[in-house]
Structures are given as C-alpha cells and as structure tokens.
C-alpha cells in the first residue's frame, strides 16, 4: 500500500514496529545458520553465545508485543492498520519459535561427536538449512515490502523442504536396517531434520500472515 496516513507519525510508528520485526528475523536467521554450523563442528563457547542470543530473541518478541499494544491503544487502528498492528505479534511469535529450534539444534550438537554425521546426511541437512535461509530472507523481505507474490513463492518452496525432510527419513530408515551407521547419530539427524521442517512451517505461517495483512484473508483456513 503506497498511500500514506495524514498523520505521518502513525506511519512512523508502524514502520518502527516493522523494522523491529525485520531485525528480529535477521537475528533469528543468523541463529539458525550458526546452529547448523554447530552440528557439523560443535564449539562449546559458540553454543553458549547462541543460547545467550536466544534470550535476546525472546526479549525482542516481548518488546514487539508491547509496541504493538501501545500502538493499538493510542491510535485505535482500523481495518488494514489494525492488521498491520496485530500481525507483528503473531510473526514475532513464529520467529521466536524458529529461534527455539535453532537453539535446540545447537544443543543437540553438544551430544554428538565432531564429524559424527555421515556425509550423505550432512549434505541433505545443509540443503534444507540453505533453503530455509533463503526462505527466511524472502519472507522478511515480503513482509517489509508487502510483496504478496514473494510470500506465495515462499509457501511454494516449503514443498521442497518437506521433500528433503522425507528423504532424510527414508535414508535413515535404510541406514538403520543396514546397521552400518551409529543409531544414536541417526536418531539425532532425524530429530534435527524434523526441527528444520518445523522451521519451514513457521516460515510458511509468517508468509500467510503477510498475505493476511494485505488481503485480510486467513489462508490457514483455506489452504
């Protein structure tokens, strides 16, 4: 929506909340990539830093909710404005969950030995996480620019994530039956893959929220 409010400070307030969400999203994206790195090469100090950052992510979630609440109280937004004021709360919640998944992946890395993940699984996990990185970037940009097409594209891409996740599962089942690989490691890999798939779902939710802001339609009910 290109048209601006007559009261420019209203636009400023909305823009500020948006900026906060994007900032939180960027931090969460970096947490995710860091978490994946830890899986390949666990480093206790970096894991601790990641956990600390997760607290920062939670703090950002709370402050976004507070700013949104204030905007609603002071501006009595209607229609589009109301959706633009409410959605950041939902989107921040989704981002916070992604952050939690990043943290759990990093923590899991502590339970595994360096280089424990077999290369074929590592490749798959890297593919998934790479896809997710692009998706997070895309969805944040879609939110910032209210780009419906980009949001739709993100939702489309989730299929690939699901496919890759399924592949990890199938491969693990095979490897377990073969008995060639370490069962504990395989279990961890599957769990991590599941986490990543959840991250994908959260990203799709955010894309749906982006759509809802603009069109007012709730895609969760229809898709």
């Amino acid at each position: 929506m290109e048209n601006v409010h007559i009261t420019s400070s209203f636009d400023k307030d909305l823009g500020e909340i948006k900026a906060r969400v994007v900032k939180m999203g960027t931090l969460v994206a970096s947490q995710l990539s860091e978490g994946m790195l830890m899986l390949a090469n666990p480093d206790a100090a970096r894991v601790e830093a990641l956990v600390k950052n997760d607290r920062k992510v939670n703090g950002m979630n709370t402050s976004i909710a507070k700013h949104a609440e204030r905007l609603i109280a002071l501006r009595q937004p209607m229609a589009l404005d109301l959706r633009e004021a409410l959605s950041p709360i939902n989107i921040a919640t989704e981002l916070e969950r992604i952050g939690d998944h990043a943290k759990s992946a990093a923590k899991r890395s502590q339970k595994m030995l360096r280089g424990a993940i077999p290369p074929e699984f590592q490749a798959l996990l890297s593919a998934i996480s790479g896809l997710l990185q692009t998706q997070i970037d895309d969805v944040l940009r879609a939110y910032d620019k209210s780009d419906l097409a980009l949001a739709a594209h993100v939702r489309e891409q989730d299929r690939q994530v699901d496919d890759l996740n399924r592949k990890v599962f199938e491969l693990s089942v095979l490897a377990l039956s073969d008995g060639k690989r370490d069962a504990a490691t395989l279990m961890n890999v599957v769990l991590v893959s599941r986490n990543l798939e959840r991250v994908g779902d959260h990203i799709v939710n955010i894309a749906r929220y982006v759509n809802q802001i603009v069109t007012g339609d709730d895609l969760k009910a229809t898709e």
Binding site: H5, I6, F10, Q76, P77, M78, G216
Partner: protein
Amino acid sequence: MNSPFLSARNVSIFYGDKQAVFDVDLDIEANKVTALIGPSGCGKSTFLRAINRMNDQISSCRFEGSLKIGGQDIYDKSVNVVALRAQVGMVFQKPNPFPKSIFENVAYGLKIHKLTSSKTELQDRVEWSLKSAGLWDEIADRLNEPGNSLSGGQQQRLCIARTIAVEPKVILMDEPCSALDPIATAVVEELIDNMRKDFTIVIVTHSMQQAARISQQTAFFHLGQLVEFGETKDVFTNPREQRTQNYITGRIG
C-alpha cells in the same frame, strides 16, 4: 434478509445547480441502527434530511428519485409533510429544547398531533417518554423547570424524549453527540442501543469509533456518492472499497 423498511433508489439531491447527492441506492432495515459516515460535505446530512423532508424548507433544494418508507413513496404528492414528520423524527447536532418547561417540551408533539385525549394520558405519555430516554429519574421532581436549565447531555436526552413521545417509526440523528462530553456521549449511545428494539435509527456521525460502536450497518458517503454499504463489522475490519479503507484509516488517497 428481511425486506428493507426504508428504501432509497436513484436518489439525487440538488441545491440549485449544484448536485450534492449522486444517484444513491440504499436499503435500511427496520429496528437496526444504520450509520452514515463520510468526510464533511459528502452529502450524508443532505441525504438524512431528505428522509423527513426537512430539505423542503430550503427553496433551492430539489429531490430526484424515490424514497420509500414502509412501501410509501414519501415524496408523493399525496403525502402530507406534517404527518410524515410525526412518523420520522429528528434529533439535531446541537441540543435545541424549546424555551419552555421540560414537561411542555415533551408534550408539544403530543399536543399538536392530538395524540392524547386527556390530561392524565398526556402526563403518562410524557412520563413514559422521559423514562425511555433515561431522563426520568434525574428530573422527575422538576418537570416545570425550563428545558435549557439542564446540562448538555440531559438536554440532548430531552430532545430524544421529545422525539420518542410521538412514537415515530424512524428516528434520524444528525451527529447527536458531537456537542457532548464523553460520559454524556456514552449515556446517549447506550440509550440509542436500547431504542433499537422499538425504532429504526439512522445516525450521521463524524466519529468512526461511534459508528463502529453503535451501528449494525454502515454506509460510507464520499463526494455525494454512496461508496460502500454493509455490515458494520465488515466495513471497519475489511472494507471492499479502497476509498472506504482510506477514510477509515485516515489515509490520503
């Protein structure tokens, strides 16, 4: 959907050569509060005043189209304006009680239309009107005091009581709360909500929050046209028209 009680078709209103309302089609349902919103000069007040033919007082004002109440075209030659106004009451922006006692204010309509046949009946009707307007408890002991000795909010409720007294079918309100403080406004809004079950109410308001609070249906007027009409909950959460959205959110087109 029940058949509309008040039905406007192709309504256009002119002041001399200047057209104020352009081809409006609107259906207002009985026993509901319909809000007319829009920026200043958008024709909503003009349209409202066409419903009780108050525009007839302005010699340069011309009405085209049809406006039916209960199936009767109110601009038909056979319709007596005086009788129409007993059926369609109006409450104005600035409270305007008559410079008479409170009792006389409420009784006036009953007297000129000869709606009561005895003094006791008149008193009963006045009491009923004042009770319905939520004013009785406050002024029962001073019915003979002048109407304008009351506070602003009380005066407006007195004007509402005066209008209710003749039991009209439709009550038109032209920004009835704009001269009142928030508490008085809330009292009047509560009153309007209670009046809904007995009357059909059409209210023009500048406050979108008020329209959102008290109406079931909202019509958005812009530059003399009816831009959007629908359920209040839809108009204020997800309006169909961009112009409506812009007005509601305070945006420049």
